[in-house]
């Protein structure tokens, strides 16, 4: 039966030469088709005697199985290489950029604002906000600056034309743009019971415009009133805040006596970096002090039972020091080339 062996050999050889599925099927017909070599050989079995037939049949069937399994293997191999070829074709340049919308960003003042809120909220401060057009009483009088007080000249105030509020004494008082966030001390304290822990960030206004002053700017006011909140507590709390904000314990902070009508003792707070371009310089960062007893009274509280500190800090100043911004005016130009640096 060297014939059978040669058929098998021939089939395996031709299968492996077939390069595409259609070609393979044609080759298959030559061996397993109706008039294929193996089919012909099987037909020839009928001419053999019973004994012979059984032996030859077994041989042929084994050959058939071998050819069929070779065919199957070849089919799988061809299919696989076809898949591989397709996958190769489908390959992408994965370095092309993704499509769709871009991403915008938040203003550096807002970033600073939110960060301050987070820091103070972490020790239980409430966040408050209130009117920017204010009454004379809340902006000045309640904060111990009656009309004609020399401290008023420290603030150049924008006044509203032709609008007035009715003061507590029945007199009409002018409306103005708040010159600081301190009126929120009074408003918030009058709405709440002691102990009071609150910060009030927001817009403030002064008649001043040059390279280092903007007629509109932002402050954050802080107020902590309880039975025994002292000047030493102010030093502790504010120093801690600055070190958290700038993320360095190497920051030096000093408090020096100053004057604000609504605090006493009053302090100007300076800070100094240990590294970076501004290292070694004292930088004014905030005004603060123990809330004046008259102001505590205007809170609706008894200064014998409630005392504490207040501070006011410029957000622009903090943001400029934090991000190395050198020109205040950039904050308010709306220039995307500046704003996109804070995405």
């Amino acid at each position: 039966m060297s014939d059978v062996e040669s058929i098998v050999k021939e089939a395996l050889e031709q299968f492996s030469r077939a390069g595409a599925p259609a070609e393979l099927e044609q080759v298959k017909a030559r061996f397993l088709g109706r008039s294929g070599a193996l089919t012909e050989a099987l037909k020839g079995l009928s001419r053999l005697g019973t004994g012979e037939r059984r032996a030859a049949g077994a041989l042929l069937n084994a050959a058939k199985e071998r050819i069929e399994s070779a065919l199957e293997a070849r089919r799988r191999a061809l299919a696989e290489s076809a898949t591989e070829a397709r996958l190769r074709e489908e390959a992408l340049d994965v370095t092309l950029p993704g499509r769709g919308r871009g991403r915008g960003g938040i203003h550096p003042i807002s970033r600073t604002w939110e960060r301050i809120e987070e820091i103070f909220a972490s020790v239980g401060f409430d966040i408050a906000d209130g009117p920017e057009i204010e009454t004379d009483w809340y902006n000045f009088t309640a904060l111990n600056q009656p009309e004609n007080h020399p401290a008023r000249s420290m603030h150049d105030t924008f006044y509203i034309e032709g609008m007035h509020a009715l003061g507590a004494d029945g007199r009409s008082e002018p409306l103005l743009l708040r010159t600081h966030t301190s009126p929120m001390q009074v408003r918030y304290a009058r709405m709440h019971e002691a102990p009071i822990r609150v910060i009030a960030p927001g817009r403030t206004y002064r008649v001043d415009s040059d390279a280092t002053h903007s007629p509109m700017f932002h402050q954050v006011e802080g107020l902590w009133i309880d039975e025994d909140i002292s000047f030493a507590d102010l030093k502790g709390a504010y120093t801690d805040f600055l070190r958290r904000f700038f993320e360095t314990d190497a920051l030096q902070v000093r408090f020096r006596p100053s004057f604000f009508p609504f605090t006493e003792p009053s302090a100007e707070i300076d800070m100094m970096f240990a590294s970076g371009p501004k290292r070694g310089q004292w930088l004014e960062i905030s005004g603060a002090g123990q809330v004046h007893p008259d102001v505590v009274r205007n809170f609706g509280l008894d200064p014998e039972r409630s005392m504490g500190f207040a501070f006011g800090t410029g957000l622009e100043r903090l943001a400029m020091l934090r991000y190395g911004i050198t020109d205040l005016r950039l904050f308010f130009d709306g220039d995307l080339r500046f704003l996109s640096q804070f995405d």
């Binding site: 092309l96 204010e134 509203i160 502790g236 120093t239 704003l339």
Partner: protein, 803 residues
């Protein structure tokens, strides 16, 4: 307050250096704004007398001088200055002298040969010594300067000018004496105040003074001095001190008054006695009066302004500025010297009302030492006699009502509570001693307290807190420990149904908008254009004409931002702002966070122009449109139903503008900027904007779980044709109203106009998802639901179902 260190040290001389002194003052609350040497460093420069001047044989512009520089023999020096002349005294830099260089590096003077002749030094101009910019000639020294003396000694150049930034409460430090007292209190060094022995009168010439406003004018010291020489030269030492204190030398009489004001803190005034008509009366002004001041400004006077008057009417604004008519000049022979005390309340704010400030008003409105009037007049008399000569009459001291210094009680325990350190009682007593506060300790233990009487030069000690501040200040803020405050560790958290403005900002930033912060005051034209607001809230004193009204909409500012960036070649601009707007509202009541007649709500607004997407591969460019921005707005809205109603807005395209309702209440606007404004404000293409009240955006519902069905959904599509004018929102509203329980979702997926749809109509295709949580819906049930929905649309809107 500006002064040279040498003047201060003449009154108090603690054993500390200049920098230490500056630090001490700053840390005690007298902030040293600057402390600069009066001259740069140089050495080896002496006073020389020019003996002879000859022309240099080899150079036209140079002179060959011999000078006596006190070196034993005359020196030959080549000099190029045009003003060199025999007998003048000039600075001479000897060989080996170090002079300040132009770039700050010192350079050495050596013997040099100039055009063949050796020069044994250099005669100097003021600029060459770094004293001023004057290089017109040699610095001319006073004739009495002694030859050979070190120039630094002669001109007092080893000195610093201190500039203090004083707070309004420390009026007592508006004089050298005051600063000296402060330094003494801080260091324990003794003060040597200038001596002011009474100058005996020569003659009995006085001038009548009457105080009609006793509370406003507590005291009016006056003295006649006859036969003064008003043209006398001002002595160099006085000129130098005044100049270093920032006062230009004007004339002997003016300089003396300025000198005494700086030295003792008492503003003085000199009248030309011969120009006074009748006696002086201090009274409040009368309506209709006016006065021409020393500075030539004419002011009108009313009953709130305290005046010095004579028979002719007002001749000065008391404590602010004298009048022109009685001013002393060079021709004046006889003078009346005024040294008065005016109460701060009577002066405060008046000068500002007239739009100027004077050294006198600055001091009087903060408080001048009323115990010092007579001493000041004696001091000034002495100086005037020394400089101008004359015969003084006796001092008259007319009294009104002087402030009373009542005792102030300070509880030691309270002071410790406020400061946060247990300051020792003896230390407190020592602090009061050094500040010159009379005090008495009362009680014991926890009840210890001090009864303190402040001196007449302190106007800032009226209550206990004022004393506590003094104790803290002199004890030293630097010595107070910084300890973290304690508070009950109560947990606090924002309500889950509250979002913050920061969260809204983040959403818009994620949607490709950039936050801007713009001025709250805008051009009145923006208010007219973008809000049709003819009556905006105006500033009485705007910083510029284009920043004169408070904005009632953020749209104008955003449009300006679009233009600003387009002008910088950025085609695609997307910006937002979160800020308050300012609205008149007659119904608004005064409340804890609100003023009567006004509302100041927080708004969130955004604007976009240019391409819908950033330039990118594989995506065709198209302009941003209404629906792009509507999706951005939707991202911002709280979950739940928002409605949009077509409505006109002054800023917006009338056919592309909608009012936005949240929870049924109007909350803002969205639309395309009106093409008219796009042109007027020079935008390159259409711009889309929205502006929404922040308040409703901050409220979000807390989610409630609904059962998720285990049964398969049935999905049915339906297309209906309706007239163009019917908004989809109305259809959806009607479908939702009738919506059977099984309907989970109704969603528009196609809008079609054109072939197959009648002109004037549109086809809206929507998909309905149905599902029941307890069983699988049958086809018949789904068909019935769809038929029901089509029926509603047919009845309500005349909708025809498309096959």
């Amino acid at each position: 307050m500006q002064f040279p260190e040498s003047w201060l040290r003449a009154l108090v001389d603690p054993p500390i250096g200049t920098q230490e002194l500056a630090h001490l003052l700053t840390m005690s609350g007298l902030e040293v704004e600057s402390c600069v040497p009066v001259a740069p460093g140089f050495s080896g420069v002496v006073v020389a007398r020019v003996l002879s001047v000859q022309r240099h044989p080899n150079a036209e512009r140079l002179s060959l001088c011999t000078v006596d520089a006190g070196q034993g023999e005359a020196l030959a020096i080549v000099c190029g200055a045009p003003n060199v002349a025999p007998d003048m005294k000039v600075p001479c830099a000897l060989p080996g002298a170090m002079l300040p260089g132009k770039d700050g590096a010192p350079f050495e003077i050596r013997k040099v040969t100039m055009r063949g002749i050796e020069s044994a030094g250099m005669l100097c101009s003021a600029r060459e010594l770094g004293l001023s910019d004057d290089h017109s000639g040699l610095l001319t020294l006073a004739a009495q300067a002694s030859v050979g003396a070190d120039l630094r000694q002669v001109l007092g150049l080893d000195d610093h000018v201190f500039l203090l930034k004083l707070t309004p409460n420390r009026a007592d430090c508006l004089s050298l004496l005051g600063v000296a007292r402060e330094v003494a209190a801080l260091t324990g060094a003794g003060v040597r105040p200038p001596e002011t022995p009474p100058v005996p009168a020569r003659g009995d010439s006085t001038f009548p003074v009457r105080i009609a406003a006793a509370r406003a004018c507590g005291r009016f010291g006056a003295r006649v001095i006859r036969n003064v020489d008003a043209t006398a030269p001002v002595p160099e030492w006085m000129k130098r001190r005044l100049e270093r204190a920032g006062q230009r030398s004007i004339s002997a009489l003016v300089d003396v008054t300025n000198y005494v004001m700086l030295e003792l803190g008492q503003p003085l005034h000199v009248y030309d006695l011969d120009k006074l008509a009748g006696g002086i009366e201090v009274r409040f002004g009368r309506e209709g009066e006016s006065l021409k001041l020393l500075n030539e400004q004419t002011v009108s006077i009313d009953g709130s302004v305290l005046c010095i008057t004579d028979g002719s009417g007002p001749i000065g604004l008391a404590g602010i500025m004298g009048g022109n008519s009685t001013k002393a000049g060079f021709a004046t022979r006889n003078i009346l010297l005024e040294s008065a005390f005016f109460a701060p309340e009577a002066i405060a704010g008046r000068a500002r009302r007239y739009n100027f400030a004077s050294d006198a008003s600055h001091r009087f409105e903060r408080g001048v030492d009323f115990g010092n009037c007579v001493a000041s007049i004696e001091r000034a008399t002495r100086l005037i006699l020394d400089v101008c000569g004359g015969e003084p009459g006796p001092v008259t001291d007319t009294q009104g009502e002087l402030p009373v210094r009542s005792t102030v009680r300070m509880r030691v325990a309270r002071a410790r509570r406020v400061i946060g350190v247990p300051v020792d009682t003896r230390e407190i007593a020592g602090i009061f001693d050094r500040l010159g506060f009379a005090h008495r300790l009362e009680g014991a233990g926890d009840a210890e307290s001090f009864e303190v009487t402040p001196p007449s030069h302190r106007f800032d000690i009226a209550i206990e807190a004022d004393l506590i501040e003094e104790v803290a200040r002199v004890h030293g803020f630097e010595r107070i420990p910084a300890h973290p405050p304690r508070a009950a560790a109560a947990m606090r958290a924002r309500s889950e149904s509250q979002r913050t403005l920061h969260a809204l900002r983040r959403i818009l930033a994620e949607r490709d908008y950039r936050e801007v912060i713009s001025h709250s005051f805008v051009d009145a034209g923006w208010e007219a254009d973008f809000a049709a607001n003819g009556e905006p809230i105006r500033l009485a004193n705007p910083i510029a004409n284009h920043l004169e009204v408070m904005r009632s909409t953020l749209i104008g500012s955003l449009v300006a931002s679009l233009r600003y960036n387009q002008n910088r070649d950025i085609e695609r601009v997307r910006v937002f702002e979160v800020a308050r707007v300012y609205l008149r509202d007659a119904t608004a009541q005064a409340g804890p966070l609100q003023l009567a007649g006004l509302r100041q709500p927080m708004r969130v607004a955004a604007a976009a122009c240019g391409a819908a997407l950033p330039a990118q591969w594989g995506t065709a460019r198209r302009d941003v449109d209404f629906y792009d921005v509507k999706a951005d707005l939707a991202a911002l809205l709280p979950p739940g139903e928002a409605r949009y109603e077509p409505a006109p807005h002054p800023a917006l395209h009338p056919g592309r503008s909608a009012r936005v309702f949240i929870g049924g209440a109007p909350a803002g606007w969205i639309g395309e900027l009106h093409p008219r404004w796009q042109r007027k404000y020079e935008l390159a293409g259409p711009a889309l904007v929205f502006e929404i009240d922040a308040q409703p955006l901050l409220q979000v519902p807390i989610p409630r779980y609904r059962e998720v069905s285990r049964f398969p959904p049935v999905v049915r599509d339906c297309a209906v044709v309706v007239p163009n004018a019917v908004p989809w929102q109305d259809l959806l509203g009607a479908l939702n109203e009738a919506r059977p329980a099984a309907v989970q979702d109704i969603r528009l997926f196609d809008l079609y106009r054109g072939q197959g749809v009648d002109a004037g109509g549109k086809s809206l295709a929507f998909r309905v998802v149905m599902q029941d949580t307890s069983r699988t819906l049958t086809d018949e049930e789904a068909d019935a639901v769809m038929a029901g929905l089509s029926e509603i649309l047919a009845v309500r809107f005349g909708a025809k179902v498309r096959a």
